[in-house]
Subunit: 538 residues, 2 copies
C-alpha cells in the first residue's frame, strides 16, 4: 500500500466511520450472529497474494460489522459504557503512526513525558490529592495501563513487595546480609502466608490478580443491608478472621462504584478500622511499615465522575474522627490515607479502550517491586527525578503511545466539556429512575440512581410475595427487553438471590429521547409480563 | 468535535502521516531533547474550554515530533524494529472506532472470532505444528497479548497451575476432598518451592514475570563458547542444581532469537535432556504430568522470520534421537514437544505495537489457570468448543479489537509480501556483514548475520591485545557513531565483558543505500578512532 493508496483508503475509511456513528441508533444493539459465523465467511488461510483495500474494506462492512455488539449505540444501557470519541480516534491514528517500543525515556522522550504531564492534568481534573501528582510531595504519579485488571495486579504486586521487605527486615535482623538463597527461602515462605482482601462486591479483577500472583484472597462482606459496600465493621471482622488463621493481610482492594450497583465503600469507617488495626499491630511488636495495609481504590468506572466536583463528597461524606490528623480528609482527600487509585478513561471519559490510569502516592513502591534491578539485588536506590522509565511501573517492557489520545481528549473537550458530559449522564440516570418511580406499581428501585446507574427489579404484587416470584418476574422482563433487540441492559443477581436489572445511561450518544424510549419499553414489557402471569393463573 | 470537524481533522492528519513517513530519512533518528523538555512547553493544567483541532495538530508537529525517536527511520539499526504499516494504521483506526470492552463472545462476536481465525492463519504462515491451531488435534490456539512480557507471564502462570494441580493431586491422595483452607495451605507451601528456568541470554521478561508472580527464577548458562544459547548440558546441570536444593522446576523459557545476538537455543539437546529427566522423575515415583516441565519458546522478534520456510530449520536443525517418537521433529515441528510459543507481529511483521501473539498446544491450560471459575472451585470442565472467551486466556478482562490490524496486514501483503519483506531484511543483514568482512582490519564479527542482526566489535590490533582495549575501542566507535546522529545502533556487553555493537536491518524503510550508508559511517568512524589511538600513543 503506497502513499496514494493509503490516502484513498484512509479517506474512505473516515467516511465509513462517520457513517458508522450516524447509523448507530438504527442498528440492533446486540449482534445476532451465531457462534462460528465468521469462520464460515472467511478463507481457511491468509491469501498468498496481497489484496486491494476496497475488497478488505467491503468485508469490514459485510462480515465484521454484523458481528459487532454496538457498545456506543445510544440504546446500549448494559454493563458500563466504553465510548470512543473523534479526538481519541485521532490519538490512536497518530499513536499507530509513531510506532515505537518505548521502553525507556530515550526510546522516545515525548512518549514518556507526555504521559507524565497529562496524568498530572487528569489527577487535577479529578481532584486527587497532590500526593498523587508526579510533582507532589510524596513522589506520586500516574501511569497508563491497559485495563483495571492490570492496574490492580500491579498495585497488588507492589503491595506484596512493600510488605515482604518491611516484614522480613523487621523479623530477621541482618536479613540483607544473608545469602541470596536464604533470603529467597524466607521470602517465599513468608509470601505463602499473605492474603489480599477485597470487597465482596468488588470487580473480579482483584480476585483474579491474586489468583495469577498465587496469593490468597478473602472477601470482605458487602451485605445488602449495608447497601452492597464494605465498611469498617466488615473489615474488622475479616482482619480478625484471617489473622486468627495465621495469615498476613497486606492489601485491600476497595471500590468507588462497584460493578453491580455503583456502590461506594464506606471509606471513613475503613480508615478508622485501619488506623486502629495499625495501632494494635505496632503495640504487639509488629513492624509499622509492614502493618500499613495497602489500600487500593478501584474507581474504574465511577472515577471519571470526579471531574464534576459535586461528586467528590460521595467518596467520603462523613468527616473522619476529629482526633485523627486526617480529619479534614473528606471527599477525595481520603485518598491521602491510601496507596493507589485507578480509573478507566475508556469507560466514561471519551477515550477509547484501552486507557486505565493508575495513580500511586509513592512511585518508589512500583519501581522497587517492578524495576529492572529489583531492590533485593541492590542496596541503594537512585531516583534522579528527571527521567521516568515507565517500564518499571508495570509488567510489560514496551509501551504504546497512549497519552496522545488522553491529551487530544482533554484538550478537545476541556474541563468544561468533560464535566458537562458526566453531568448529562448522571441527569439522564435520574430521568430514567424518575420514570420507574412514576410506575411503582411495576418497578422497585434497589439502588441509585448513582453515577448514571439505576438498579431495580419488578415490583412485588403483594407485600409477602416470595422472593423467587419477584426474581422470576424481573428476569422475564429483562429477557424480553433484551430479546426485543431495541435496547440492551444487564441482568444481575444481587446478594440473597435478588434478581435485578441494571440500566446505565453513560453513553455519549445517549440522550433524553433514548432514555425515554427505554423507559417506555420497560413499562410495556412489565405490563406484558403481568398480563402473562394473570393469564397463566386464570 | 462534530462529523465535519472530524472529517477535516482526520483528512489533514492523514496528509501529516504521509509527510511524516516521507520525511523519516531526513530526520535525526534519536531525539535530542533534554529530559523535562515537554513540561516546559505545556500548560500546568488541562484547558477549561475545549481547543480547536488545528491548534492541537500544530502542537503535535511542534512539541511532540521533536521528542520522538524515530523507530521507523531507515537509519534506525538499534534494538529490534517496531514498524507500523499503512494497513495496520487503518486497523487501529477501525479498532478505535468499534470501541468495546469485549470481555466475552456476545460482547462483540466479531472481535473474538476474527482473532481465532487470523491467529490460525498466522500459525499456518509461520509453519507451526497443527497442535497450535484452534482447529488442531490438541485444542490449541492463539491469542493476542500486548507484549511478550504479558505472553511469558501468562504462560508461566498456566505452567505453575498445571504443575501444582498435578503435583498436589499425586502427592496428597484425596486432595480434592480436603477443606478449602487445607488445599490452599498445601498449594501455597508447594508453590513456594517452585522455580522457573530461563536462558542466561533470554529476554528480561522471563525473569520479570517470575519476580511479579513471586516465583523463584534461575538462569540456564548460555556461554559464549556455545554461541550464547542454552543447550542440553546446561539444562541438565541446572536441573540437577535446583533439585539438589529442594526446588521444583516447572517451567523453562527458551529463546528463538535472543535479544543480544539472535541466538537460537539448541532445542534438539534440550528435548533429549527433558525426555531423560521426565523418565528419571517418573522412575523415582514422581507424577508424570507434574514432571512434564512446561517449555515456552519466545520468538518475539525472530519468530516472524518463520513465514519464510527456509528459516524454520534454524529452530531445530539436528534430527532428534531416532529412537524418539518425535524423531521427525526438526524445524518448527519440535514445538510439538513444547507447550507455548510467542512472536510479536509488532517487531518484524508490519503490525504496529502492540501485537504479541501467544500460541499454546492446549488452551485448557490457560482456561484452567485464568478462567473466571478457577479449577479448584469446580470439578468438571466444560468446553463447548464454539464460543471462546479470551478473558480466560489472559489476565485482563477487557480486550481491544487487535485482530483487525492483523487481518488487514495479512491480507494487504499476503504470504508473498511478508516473505519478501523478511527475506529483504535478512539479505540486507548479509550485505552489512559482508561490508564488515571486507574490512577485517577494522571489524570482527562475533555472531551473525542471523535474522538480519549482525553483532561485531572493533578488530584487535594484535593477537594478544587485552580484552579491555578492544572493548574500549568498540565502545568508542559505538559512541561516536550514535553521537553523529545519522544512524542509531545498540551497544551491548556480552558474556565475559566483551563489548559489542548490534546492527539490525529489519526496518521496512531500510534499503541497500541505507545499509551502505551505515557501513560507510562505521568504516570512517573506526578509522578515526584508530587515528585517535595512534595520536595518543605517539
Amino acid at each position: 500500500m503506497d502513499d496514494n493508496a493509503f490516502r484513498e483508503a484512509a479517506t474512505a475509511s473516515i467516511d465509513e466511520i462517520i457513517k458508522y456513528y450516524a447509523s448507530l441508533g438504527e442498528r440492533p444493539v446486540v449482534s445476532t450472529v451465531e457462534p462460528g459465523y465468521l469462520r464460515k465467511l472467511l478463507p481457511d488461510a491468509a491469501p498468498e497474494q496481497g489484496e486491494a483495500w476496497n475488497v478488505i474494506r467491503q468485508d469490514v462492512e459485510d462480515k465484521i460489522v454484523p458481528g459487532l455488539t454496538h457498545w456506543q449505540s445510544p440504546n446500549f444501557f448494559a454493563f458500563f459504557p466504553c465510548p470512543a470519541s473523534y479526538p481519541s480516534i485521532l490519538g490512536e491514528l497518530y499513536s499507530a503512526t509513531f510506532a515505537a517500543a518505548a521502553f525507556n525515556w530515550i526510546c522516545s522522550p515525548a512518549i514518556t513525558e507526555l504521559e507524565t504531564v497529562v496524568l498530572d492534568w487528569l489527577a487535577q481534573l479529578l481532584g486527587l490529592p497532590e500526593e498523587y501528582l508526579s510533582t507532589g510531595p510524596t513522589r506520586g504519579g500516574g501511569v497508563i495501563h491497559g485495563t483495571a485488571s492490570e492496574a490492580v495486579m500491579t498495585a497488588m504486586t507492589a503491595a506484596a513487595d512493600k510488605y515482604l521487605r518491611a516484614a522480613l527486615a523487621a523479623d530477621h535482623p541482618g536479613f540483607e546480609t544473608l545469602a541470596k538463597e536464604e533470603k529467597e527461602d524466607l521470602r517465599a515462605l513468608r509470601r505463602s502466608r499473605l492474603v489480599a482482601l477485597g470487597g465482596g462486591t468488588a470487580h473480579s479483577s482483584a480476585k483474579k490478580a491474586a489468583q495469577v500472583l498465587g496469593l490468597r484472597y478473602r472477601s470482605v462482606p458487602a451485605p445488602a443491608a449495608n447497601g452492597y459496600y464494605i465498611n469498617g465493621d466488615g473489615l474488622r471482622e475479616t482482619l480478625a478472621k484471617v489473622r486468627a488463621a495465621g495469615l498476613e493481610p497486606f492489601f485491600l482492594s476497595t471500590t468507588f462504584g462497584t460493578t453491580d450497583t455503583c456502590a461506594v465503600d464506606d471509606y471513613a469507617s475503613i480508615v478508622e478500622v485501619l488506623d486502629a488495626d495499625l495501632k494494635t499491630q505496632v503495640a504487639a511488636g509488629r513492624d509499622a511499615a509492614a502493618s500499613d495495609i495497602w489500600v487500593h481504590v478501584d474507581g474504574a468506572y465511577a472515577g471519571s465522575a470526579l471531574v464534576a466536583p459535586e461528586t467528590r463528597a460521595i467518596m467520603c461524606p462523613a468527616p473522619l474522627d476529629p482526633s485523627n490528623p486526617n480529619s479534614e480528609a473528606t471527599g477525595t482527600a481520603v485518598l491521602r490515607r491510601f496507596h493507589s487509585f485507578n480509573m478507566n478513561m475508556h469507560k466514561w471519559l471519551l477515550t477509547n479502550f484501552d486507557c486505565s490510569c493508575l495513580f500511586v502516592r509513592d512511585r518508589r513502591w512500583l519501581v522497587d517491586a517492578l524495576g529492572a534491578d529489583a531492590h533485593y539485588y541492590k542496596n541503594d536506590y537512585s531516583d534522579g527525578g528527571l527521567v521516568t522509565d515507565y517500564r518499571d511501573w508495570q509488567l510489560p517492557l514496551g509501551r504504546r503511545f497512549r497519552s496522545l489520545k488522553v491529551w487530544f481528549v482533554l484538550r478537545t473537550y476541556g474541563g468544561e466539556g468533560l464535566r458537562a458530559y458526566i453531568r448529562r449522564s448522571i441527569s439522564l440516570g435520574e430521568r430514567f429512575a424518575d420514570s420507574l418511580k412514576a410506575r411503582s406499581d411495576l418497578f422497585e428501585i434497589i439502588t441509585g440512581p448513582q453515577f448514571a446507574l439505576t438498579v431495580f427489579r419488578a415490583a412485588k404484587l403483594t407485600a409477602d410475595e416470595p422472593l423467587e416470584v419477584t426474581s422470576a418476574r424481573t428476569r422475564r422482563v429483562c429477557e424480553l427487553v433484551n430479546g426485543g433487540g431495541k435496547i440492551w441492559v444487564t441482568g444481575t443477581t444481587l446478594e440473597g438471590g435478588v434478581a435485578a436489572i441494571r440500566v446505565m445511561t453513560g453513553n455519549f450518544s445517549t440522550h433524553a429521547e433514548h432514555v425515554d424510549g427505554a423507559s417506555k419499553i420497560f413499562v410495556e414489557t412489565a405490563e406484558k409480563v403481568l398480563a402473562e402471569e394473570k393469564a397463566k393463573s386464570a
